[in-house]
């Protein structure tokens, strides 16, 4: 039993990717900046959810559920602060996404582009669902569920995520 745990932990630690602290700070901040600035020039850009993609990538790569939860908390609160809605809506969503992404990263191979595409699609769809639920049930804002629009949003984000993740892979620190 102990042998099996040790094997699992060492395997997880072997596959755990490390990043420079500056990357962990700057990349999320740049993503949030682009998310709030680019829609000024290209209004359709707000279909993307770059902060959530960042949470997914770093959570999956670091394979640490608590780390993913905390990363989601920080990014989500910053996202909320840029809106007029109560703080915590995106915080809750990103926490859950970060935790689930890190948990999945331990179990499956997430370096495969196909896996990344499906994973991103599912997580963005989950984020949209959580958003609607929180707004309707907790905040009292009548938010509609746009089935087709949310599916398109999830697909677009999944595709962009695959490209972004390939770029972020170059920022990994080699052992």
């Amino acid at each position: 039993m102990t042998m099996a745990l040790l094997t699992q932990r060492s395997r997880r630690e072997m596959e755990e990717h490390r990043f420079h602290p500056a990357v962990l700070i700057l990349v999320p901040l740049i993503a949030i900046f682009l998310q709030v600035y680019i829609p000024l020039r290209f209004p359709s850009f707000d279909i993307l959810n770059l902060p959530v993609l960042i949470v997914i990538y770093f959570s999956v790569s670091r394979r640490n559920p608590i780390g993913g939860t905390l990363l989601g908390l920080v990014i989500g609160i910053i996202q909320d602060a840029m809106t007029h809605l109560p703080l915590g809506i995106n915080g809750i969503i990103d926490c859950i996404i970060g935790y689930l992404a890190a948990s999945i990263g331990v179990r499956i191979d997430v370096d495969n582009p196909g896996t990344r595409l499906i994973m991103n699609f599912c997580f963005i769809l989950l984020a949209s669902t959580l958003h609607v639920l929180i707004l309707r049930r907790l905040i009292g804002v009548h938010e509609q569920w746009y089935g087709l629009h949310d599916l398109v949003r999830a697909l677009v984000n999944a595709l962009v995520g695959v490209v972004l993740f390939a770029l972020f892979d170059r920022l990994r620190q080699r052992e």
């Binding site: 949030i32 900046f33 998310q35 709030v36 600035y37 829609p39 000024l40 209004p43 707000d46 279909i47 959810n49 902060p51 559920p65 608590i66 939860t69 905390l70 908390l73 609160i77 910053i78 996202q79 602060a81 840029m82 809106t83 007029h84 809605l85 109560p86 703080l87 915590g88 809506i89 915080g91 809750i92 926490c95 859950i96 935790y99 948990s103 958003h131 929180i134 707004l135 907790l138 905040i139 009292g140 804002v141 009548h142 938010e143 509609q144 746009y146």
Partner: protein, 454 residues
């Protein structure tokens, strides 16, 4: 216990963090009846906005620098032609404004009479849009002006095209603007044709709609929508948009929702104006603008209508006219059917004796129809202004005509009164005419009517 905590450490941490945020949400959701954040929440927003706004300003500065260099120094083709087009458009708008000025002043007098309070925009602050919320679930803009520029919460934000929204949160150098197409916004509006009032807000798709309005066939697409001023935030009369279509609102039967196409392109805003001060009287700049428009409109009309003759400087007898001399007495026109009421047809009252009779007058025979038709044209246009004719006919009611044609039933002492009335009516009706002359449209029609005579 220790093994339980270590085994479920990750989900427990997630649960604790989510629960803490849920509690935070509950506290914030209870508060927003005031429409403002709590102190802690505001502090977090302030930190985040302050951290990002310098970068947004820098990007905006660079972008505007490049754009202005290109547009102001390099891309100047067709500027002269464009200038001419704008000049002609300005003249046209001045004419329109001048024609509306009389109505506006009339409206102001009536408003004052009935005690209505109209809010005029007295002071605005121009601001650049430097950011958004980053999500289509929150229609918020970030502008580069804050409390140090005099901004406060709930100040209206507009563009020359119409309403954008209102200031929601103010920081020292920046502010958040809640757009009218956000779901949590609300704006009192009135439909200009049907005069129906309602509340406009955004829906989940980012469209603006008037809610809780009863079905009304008079609401047609294209009807302009303006602010009503009833919400104590926006001054009345600001353009909001036009009616797009009426849709059913299944959640609020029997009400319908009226979708409104915003007058402002809310997704592409570069500069906005924040209304920082309003006043009840018309601002001096607006008064001056109106006066300038009226003066310019008169000049433009004078150029376009060369047939308007200048005032004569020499009289019909060849002598120069003294402009300070009193005007000659105005005489009524020659009568077509002279009778005892006709001026100078009866002897003066001083020569009559009470109870006596005056000699029968011999009136000229009624002219034949052809001659009568010819006689309808003014006998002496120089002595009778053309505009007195319609005025004379307007001031004399049609029912008075039979009385004048049956003089036998009237006592003799009423004759001078009737004559005096005719004499005094002519200048009185003439004094009514300067008002439409100020009105360019009326002046145009009046002058055009005179052209055949000239």
């Amino acid at each position: 216990m220790e093994s339980f905590l270590s085994r479920y450490r990750n989900p427990l941490v997630l649960l604790a963090i989510v629960l803490a945020q849920l509690l935070g949400l509950a506290v914030q959701v209870r508060r927003p009846n005031t429409g403002k954040d709590g102190e802690q929440t505001r502090l977090i927003r302030y930190w985040v906005v302050s951290a990002f706004s310098p970068f947004e300003r820098a990007f905006l500065f660079v972008g505007h620098g490049v754009s202005s260099t290109w547009h102001n120094y390099l891309d100047l083709r067709h500027v002269r032609q464009q200038n001419q087009e704008l000049q002609s458009e300005l003249n046209r708008i001045r004419l329109e404004q001048s024609s509306l000025a009389v109505d506006a002043r009339e409206g102001l007098r009536l408003q004052k009479l009935f005690g209505f309070q109209h809010q005029y925009i007295a002071k605005t602050v121009a601001a650049h849009v430097i950011g958004t919320s980053g999500t289509d679930l929150s229609r918020v803009l970030v502008i580069d002006k804050g409390s140090r520029d005099g901004l406060k919460t709930d100040m209206p934000v507009i563009t020359p095209d119409g309403v954008v929204g209102k200031v929601r949160d103010v920081f020292p150098h920046t502010a958040q603007v809640l757009e009218i197409n956000d779901q949590t916004s609300g704006l009192g509006i009135v439909l200009t044709k049907t005069r129906l009032r309602g509340i406009l807000r955004g829906n989940a798709a980012g469209q603006t709609e008037i809610i809780d309005i009863l079905p009304d066939e008079r609401i047609q697409p294209g009807e302009p929508v303006v602010t009503s001023g009833g919400d104590s935030v926006y001054p009345s009369g600001l353009s909001v948009g036009t009616v797009e279509r009426v849709v059913n609102d299944p959640e609020h039967n029997p009400y319908v929702a009226v979708l409104v196409h915003p007058a402002v392109n809310l997704s592409r805003l570069d500069e906005v104006l924040v209304i920082t001060q309003t006043q009840n009287t018309m601002p001096a700049s607006m008064e001056q603008d109106l006066a300038t428009s009226e003066q310019k409109a008169a000049d433009i009309l004078a150029q376009r209508l060369p047939s308007v003759p200048p005032p004569p400087t020499v009289g019909p007898d060849g002598k120069p006219i003294n402009p300070n001399a009193p005007p000659p007495p105005v005489r009524p026109p020659a009568s077509l059917h002279p009778d005892q009421f006709t001026p100078d047809a009866t002897p003066p009252a001083a020569s009559l004796t009470p109870g006596g009779t005056y000699p029968n007058q011999v009136y000229p025979a009624q002219p034949p129809p052809a001659a009568a038709a010819q006689a309808t044209t003014p006998a002496s246009p120089s002595s009778r202004p053309a505009e007195t004719a319609p005025a004379h006919s307007q001031t004399k009611p049609a029912t008075a005509q039979p009385k004048l044609t049956t003089p036998q039933s009237k006592p003799a002492n009423e004759h001078p009164t009737a004559t005096t009335h005719l004499d005094s009516a002519t200048p009185a009706s003439t004094t009514e005419h300067p008002k439409p002359v100020h009105h360019p449209a009326a002046a145009t029609s009046t002058t055009t009517g005179e052209e055949p005579q000239n």
